[in-house]
Structures are given as C-alpha cells and as structure tokens.
C-alpha cells in the first residue's frame, strides 16, 4: 500500500536530495500576527536546505511543512495561480514589494536570486487601505470598491454591435492593453510612501478611457473612481516607487493620463450637471 512503501514516503523537506542546483541556508524573519486586532511581531526561522530552483512561495511551503511538524501554526499568506497573473500573492521581501527582481510577482521569484546565508525579511503589505488579516495576508477589497465606482463599460449581452464595426488603431489597442495588464496585487500601494493607489486606479482608467468603446462613460468613470480612491488611499506626490514595484511594469505615464481626464471631468461633469440639475 502506498503509505508504507518506502519509495513513496514524503519527499525529503530538509535536504532536497533530488534538486540539481545549489542548496542554501537562510534565516527568515517573518511578520506573525494572529488576527486583525492582535499585536504583531517578527519571528526568526532557521531555514537550511533550500534549493535555488524553488520559487519563493515553494520555499514558504517547505517552511510551513517544517513548522507544522514542530507543532507550530503555519505562516498564513495569500497565493493562488503561482504564474504571476492572478495577483493574489503579495509580500514585502527585504523591504521591496514582490522582492528584488523587477517586473516579477512574488510567486515567480525564484530562490536563485538570493545568496547562501542571507537573512530575508518578509512582511505583509503595509497600508491603511489594506488592513492586516493574519500574518502576511491583508484585505485588498478597497481596490474592488474603486473598480465598482466606474471601472467598467456598460454593455448588456446581446446589445453589442459587430466587433469590427469600430476600428481601433493598433497603437491605441496596445496602449490600452499595457494598462489592462494590471493584476490588482496592490504592490503600487505597498511601495508608495503615501500609500496611494494612483497607479492602480490610473491603469484601470487608462485601459478603458483610451478605447473608443470607453468614451461614453469616460468622464463619469474617472471622476467617480478617483473620488472613491481618495476615500481609502493617500495622495500621489510623484515618487515613482509604484512603477518600480509593479510586477507588470505599468508606466506612471498613465497617472498623467488619469489626472488630465480627471481635470477635464471636473469641468465637463459640472456642465452636464448644470444642464440636468
């Protein structure tokens, strides 16, 4: 039977006999916090036998298996697709959102980017708009509120015209796609000294406002989204840390696009209001 067959025992979690690259011995300093209202603290863990081919999250899986074997509760962290596309993973790694590699989400970060003997500090996103739930898990639903405020194009299924009716210049479609690549992970907020969500909001505004399909709701959209954003997040003062941290390398130029549309919206929307009091 499977369980008693020595060939089928659990893969060794300590020495990693089957990997092919380097093995590292690390110290992890991890933020542990039992609940939203509990006091948090750093805990240090001695972590030998980590293969350089592991992803950062696979390394945390190994640490969690070891913690559980020692009767200690595993570290809670958000993650899902592990392909850098769902935006569920987060983590401040050595003070940088998603760690040291540019344009890379934590789940795509591999241990070969670290050195043997390193101490790695792992913290949750820290921003007022992202309250901590437990350990490294935070609540990012404020970003959903911003999208709900106007990050959509209204179209009932069945009412759309033929898709080729409205040509969209390739450069416009490409720019829209550049903005739409945002994975809503919140790294921009976590990296910002003001905890501003301008890059996130601007990316969604630009994705839709650049397209002819987004034109009818353009000014309502930007005003409503920006006003909602300001309820939860700080103000942008052009530090540019967000662009640096963004795993999809979304350009802060989109913030300028959003600001321009917002200014025009403030004028246009007032005019509409005065016409339809």
């Amino acid at each position: 039977m499977a369980v008693t067959d020595p060939e089928r025992q659990a893969p060794s979690l300590v020495t990693g006999e089957k990997h092919h690259g380097r093995t590292m011995h690390l110290t992890l300093r991890v933020w542990r916090q039992a609940g939203p209202d509990s006091e948090g603290r750093f805990a240090d863990y001695d972590v030998p036998g980590i293969s350089e081919d592991m992803s950062f999250l696979e390394m945390l899986d190994v640490v969690n298996e070891r913690l559980a074997s020692d009767g200690e509760e595993p570290i809670t962290f958000d993650h899902d697709c592990r392909e850098g596309i769902c935006g569920t993973c987060s983590l401040m790694i050595n003070g940088r959102a998603h760690g040291p590699e540019r344009g890379t989400a934590t789940c795509q970060l591999h241990m070969r980017k670290f050195g043997d003997g390193d101490t790695i500090v792992v913290e949750p996103w820290r921003a007022e708009g992202f309250p901590i739930i437990r350990d490294l898990m935070v609540d990012r639903s404020t970003l959903d509120r911003i999208v709900e405020a106007g990050g959509f194009i209204t179209v009932s299924p069945g009412s759309a015209p033929d898709a080729n009716l409205v040509p969209v210049p390739k450069v416009v479609a490409d720019a829209s796609m550049d903005a739409a690549a945002c994975i809503q992970c919140g790294a921009c907020v976590a990296a910002c000294p003001n905890s501003a969500a301008n890059l996130f909001t601007a990316a969604k505004v630009a994705h839709l406002n650049l397209l002819p399909q987004g034109e009818p709701q353009r000014y309502q959209r930007v005003e409503s989204m920006v006003d909602t954003m300001e309820q939860f997040f700080g103000s942008c003062t052009n530090h540019g840390e967000c662009e640096e941290a963004c795993p999809k390398e979304i350009s802060i130029d989109f913030i300028a696009t959003m600001n321009k549309d917002y200014l025009r919206a403030k004028i246009k929307n007032r005019r509409y209001l005065s016409r339809n009091p």
Binding site: C81, V147, A163, M177
Partner: protein, 640 residues
C-alpha cells in the same frame, strides 16, 4: 441499465434548435425578475459572466467566491485565446465548421446540439467582449487580428497578447462590479461553498464557510448555479491554481447530481517540466507557441550534447514526421502522448530527462526576433524567470501536465443538473468538449454559458416559482447541512495525526498520474482502485491540521478539498476502467490502432457515462445518455 437520460434537446434541424428553444422556454417578465433570488458560486468566466448578466436582467443575485476578489479566478491564467466563427480572415470558417471541428476534436463524445449552440453564440461573445473594452490584438488597419490555434486549420482565435483569459475575466469582473455597485448582485468573497441543500428534491440553497472567521452559514434562493471550475488538481501537480478544487461539484454530486465522464481529463502538451520534488504546480506555456515553435528530441537516446550541438540530421521532429498535415499543431492529446512516447524511449532532454524541445530558432530566422517577441514575449520572459534559461538562446523544454477536465456535473440542454433548480456552467459541467477539448475553446464555453445560455434557460426552470419565497434557511435541511459541515471541519482538527493534507494530496496525485493519467490500462486502474481507499483510510486516521476553526486556517481549507479529491479520484478510476475504449484524452493502452492511435468503440461507448453517488467510497451507479449524431459522421480521427 437505466433508460437514457433526457437531455431535453429541442426538436428540429440543428441550425434552428437554439432559436426554437429560446422561443419555447418560459419567460420571466422584466418586472418580476427582482422577485427571484439566484445564487451563483464561482466568479470565473462562467460564474462572473452569469452573475453579471443575471443581475443586469434584474434578478437578485448572490455571488460567492473563495478568493479575496472575484477577479482572481483561474480563468485569468488562460493565455492563448478564444475561438469564434467570425470568418474575419475569409479562410472558410463558419458556425458549422467550428461546430464540426469541436465535435471531431472531442472524439465524438459530446452532444451535437450543445456544441452547435456554442459555435453559434461564439460570435456574440467576441462582440460583447470587444464592446466591454477587452483589448484584443488588432491589425494595423484597426480591425481584430486572429491566429490559428492547436487543432484548427482556420484562423479563428482572438487573443490579447498572451493574457486572453485575464482580459476576458476582467471584462466579466468589471461587468460584475457594475452590478455589485448597483445592488443587483451581492458579493460574498472569501466564502467557500461546502454543500448544496435540497428540499423536496429541489435545490434550495447552499452552505458556506467564511474563510476568515470559520463561520458556517446558509443561503437560500430559487435557483443555484455552480460555476466552480475543473478538478485537474486531483493530480496534485497540474496547471491549475493552488486553490482550484472539486468540492462544490463533488458535494452536489453527493446530494444527487450525476457526475458525467469523470475520466475525461486533458493533459496539456506544453508545460515547463518539473525541476524537483518541491514543485507545487506546473506552469503552462501557451499552446499558441506550437504555431511558431518546432518540437523535437535528439534522434538517439541519452544524447548528452546541448541542443545547439545537435545537427539537423540528428534531430527527430517527431510530430512533423508522424503527422505531416498537422505537424506541430496536432490536438493536445496526440501531442502529449507522442511526447511521452519519446521520453519513454529515453530521448527526453533537460537535467531530469523529462522534457522535449520546443524550438523557435527557425521562426526567429524567418520572422525576425521582433515578431516573435511581439507574439510570445511575455511567455518567453515567464520561461526565463522560472528556469533561468533564455528561450531566444536555446530551445524551451516542455512536458505534458494535467490541465483541463472535460468531465463534470451532467447537465441537460438548459444547463440544469439532475437536481432541479441546480445549474452548472463552464468547466464544472461536462457538456461541450466530449472526450477532448480543443485549444481556445474553454474561454468560449465559459462565456457562452455565462453571458448567453444560462440567462435564457434559467427562466424556464424558475418561472413556475413566481410568488413563492425561497426556502427559509432555518429549515431543518439547512440546519442539518450546517451541522454536518461543522462536524466535518471539527473532525479534521480532532484527528491529531502526523501528516499534512498536502502530503496526502501529493500521494494521491502520484497514484492518479501513474494509473489514471495520459495512458490507462486495466491492471493500473485496478491497482489505483485498491490503493486510493487504503490511502483515504490513512488520511482519516493520520491527518494533522493545527490551529482552530475560528480564524484563517489555510491547512484546514486544504484538508476539506483533499478529502473530496480522494472520493472523486476513485470515481475517475472507476469511470476510466468501465470505458473499454480509447477516445480523446482517455487513452486505454489496450485499445489502440496498429499505429498507436486512440481506438474508439462507437458501438458500445457512444454515450455519456453519468454516475450516481451511492455512498462514500462506494461504487457509483452508471446512467447513460446515448449520443445521437445526426449531422456529423463518425470517423476515426486522423491528423496524418
């Protein structure tokens, strides 16, 4: 044998069935829609689109996801594209051809009427998504670009770089966000559905667990819609996200919904081979790579040379050699099985000898690096990040991995399961792909079900309920279901054994991969059927979950999912054992042609095998839906 299941396929010529059906179904008056409550579980393409559309129509919708945001569902990871029969490229495509290709690609194990409808609404999907702001790739003239995709000889695939699933999901998510803001849809995030409740044989609601507080609660409605995705994670290593699971559909199955064709699983040919024992998942490289990449292995076994030092004459481009007409674009099952054959002949490449090459050098020479980068840039970057190797410099290494499950809850033409009032959409149902799904068809089906099919068909089921209230959640049936869920989760915590749920999951996955994976046979399946219950017993005695049930406990969440994977895994093996033929992704080594191709047995197995639950780990009872082919002539697939 029980009588054939009634799929409620409308009468008439196939071209007219859907229109005729839309005319004949009962309608709910626009002013009455707000009097109906509908629960949607899952917020991927199918669930997100359905919830948004139902909310837009005026129904009261409650939508549940275990993610923090509806936009995280694994539909987001689909890379390659979405098919539609637009024929924008004037290369002979049509609704009929898309229908025909899908039935043929499914190896004649799907229901004609459903597939035809899918092909019909495919064009509406592209219109809808474009209007929603999905930034599909465009040509310089500003019109939509298409590419050809695995298994198709026309260019019918629409795409948004390598992130088509993400962009389509954002379209559905944004439509859902609009309805949430309007108040027609109420979102319950970080809430996992753990049971379906039936009252008087009809779906009355669901029981969910709040993943932050552990609180178990009930919700009732006039209808329940499950759109909870596939079950490839039964193999532990798959291309699915870590949290993808079968619990929602499995629990519905236990309540009486038949589970159709559980053994039909798709192994995707182009994944990055695993690098070590710690691997937590396998990463897919879009199948679109096969358009411009050439697959090869060294002609002789155990060739130690790096790829650049192996001359053309000593390379075996095995797909081009065996299938001159389709070459590298043969369907996924054919590509996967051939890669496995090469590795079985010890021609595999890479440090573990577990890959085959996917080589872009010829395309870079022909098209230029810029064009290749434009088409696949993000995929190349992803490969580099994971493996530390640059695919512009040396060929990629790829290997097959479990990717998609064609099986799922049995549904009729209305997408209703065998439990009245319970509907199932997207990958979670069995309906449209037969024994094998063609590339770029999953996104199409999810959105077809969600935007265009269910919103039309659900009225037929609920219209007669006008004036009735949903069952009170204090009803005995809800109370008992909640108590059972609490006991189940308290039970996992109480075992106090020595092994984690992940450990058991990994072990189960090995059994499934070895015996119910790319190639199956009687002795292997019988071995699996004896091993799985034994391992399951061990799970129930030796599981260890720390912590408690009143706060975030990810290990506890996993325990529940693994529990259900055990039960489903056993059913998959039973189904694979009973199906004494090869078809699509189900390859029984006893049933192959002299050339090593899948050998169907249409006389005995041209039916949907739908299983009834008879008790925990007890053998299921088989029901059949005989498949009638009036429009497509059954032939042996040939991609030579």
């Amino acid at each position: 044998m029980a009588p054939s299941l009634d799929a409620k396929i409308p009468e008439g010529p196939i071209e007219d069935k859907w229109d005729a059906h839309k005319f004949s179904v009962k309608l709910v008056n626009p002013n009455n829609k707000r009097k109906f409550d509908i629960i949607v579980v899952g917020t991927g393409l199918a669930g997100g689109a359905a919830a948004a559309t139902l909310g837009g129509l005026g129904y009261n919708v409650k939508v549940f996801t275990f993610h923090d945001s509806p936009r995280r569902a694994h539909s987001i990871a689909a890379q390659g594209g979405i098919n539609a029969a637009k024929n924008y490229h004037n290369d002979g495509d049509s609704v009929y051809r898309l229908f025909y290709d899908t039935v043929k690609g499914g190896d004649y194990r799907s229901r004609e009427a459903n597939v035809y409808r899918l092909a019909q609404v495919s064009n509406n999907i592209i219109d809808q998504c474009t209007a929603q702001g999905v930034p599909f790739a465009r040509e310089y003239g500003g019109l939509l670009d298409n590419r050809s995709f695995g298994g198709a000889q026309v260019s019918r695939t629409f795409y948004a770089r390598g992130q088509t699933g993400q962009q389509l999901l954002l379209g559905a998510y944004q439509a859902l966000a609009e309805q949430i803001a309007k108040g027609t849809v109420t979102l319950y995030n970080r809430s996992e559905m753990l049971d379906v409740v039936t009252v008087d044989g009809r779906a009355a609601g669901i029981v969910v667990r709040d993943l932050l507080t552990g609180e178990v609660s009930s919700h009732s409605a006039h209808a329940v819609v499950l759109a909870t995705g596939g079950y490839s994670n039964v193999f532990f290593l798959s291309t699915n996200a870590m949290a993808c699971n079968a619990t929602a559909i499995w629990r519905a199955h236990r309540q009486g919904a038949l589970f159709a064709n559980p053994c039909y699983t798709q192994i995707h040919p182009t994944c990055i081979p695993s690098s070590d024992e710690y691997q937590s998942k396998l990463t897919l490289m879009s199948e679109s790579l096969r358009n411009d990449g050439r697959i090869w292995v060294p002609a002789k076994a155990h060739d130690p040379r790096p790829p650049s030092e192996i001359p053309e004459a000593e390379r075996d481009y095995f797909l081009e050699r065996k299938y001159p007409s389709f070459g590298n674009l043969v369907p996924r099952d054919v590509a996967s099985r051939n890669a496995k054959a090469m590795i079985d002949q010890e021609k595999g490449v890479g440090p573990l000898g577990n890959g085959v090459y996917l080589d872009f050098s010829a395309s870079v020479d022909r098209l230029g690096r810029n064009v290749v980068e434009e088409r696949y840039g993000n995929l190349f970057e992803m490969y580099d990040r994971i493996t530390g190797e640059d695919p512009y410099g040396s060929p990629m290494r790829i290997y097959p991995a479990p990717h998609y499950t064609m099986g799922g809850l049995w549904v009729d033409y209305n997408l209703e399961t065998t439990i009245p009032g319970l509907y199932c959409l997207g990958e979670a149902n069995f309906s449209d792909h037969g024994a094998n799904r063609l590339g770029a068809s999953a996104l199409m089906q999810g959105l077809a079900d969600g935007y265009f099919v269910l919103p039309q068909t659900i009225g037929d089921g609920i219209a007669p309920l006008l004036g009735t209230k949903p069952v009170d959640t204090h009803h005995e049936a809800f109370r008992l279901a909640e108590a059972a869920v609490r006991d189940r989760y308290a039970g996992y915590l109480a075992i106090g054994g020595t092994r984690s749920a992940d450990w058991f999951h990994r072990e189960l996955g090995k059994i499934m991969w070895d015996h119910c994976g790319m190639e199956r046979n009687r002795p292997g399946l019988e071995k699996a059927i004896s091993e799985i219950p034994a391992l399951y017993e061990e799970f129930k005695k030796d599981l260890r979950v720390l912590g408690n049930d009143a706060s975030v406990n990810q290990a506890l969440e996993r325990a529940g999912r693994v529990d259900d994977f055990f039960q489903l895994g056993l059913l998959m093996c039973e189904d694979a054992l009973h199906r004494e033929e090869s078809c699509g992704g189900h390859f029984r080594s006893e049933h192959q042609t002299p050339e090593g191709e899948a050998e169907r047995d249409d006389d005995r197995f041209a039916y949907v095998g739908a299983w009834e639950h008879t008790g925990e780990m007890a053998p299921g009872r088989l029901h059949r839906e005989d498949l009638v082919f009036e429009n497509v002539k059954l032939t042996q697939r040939s991609y030579k």
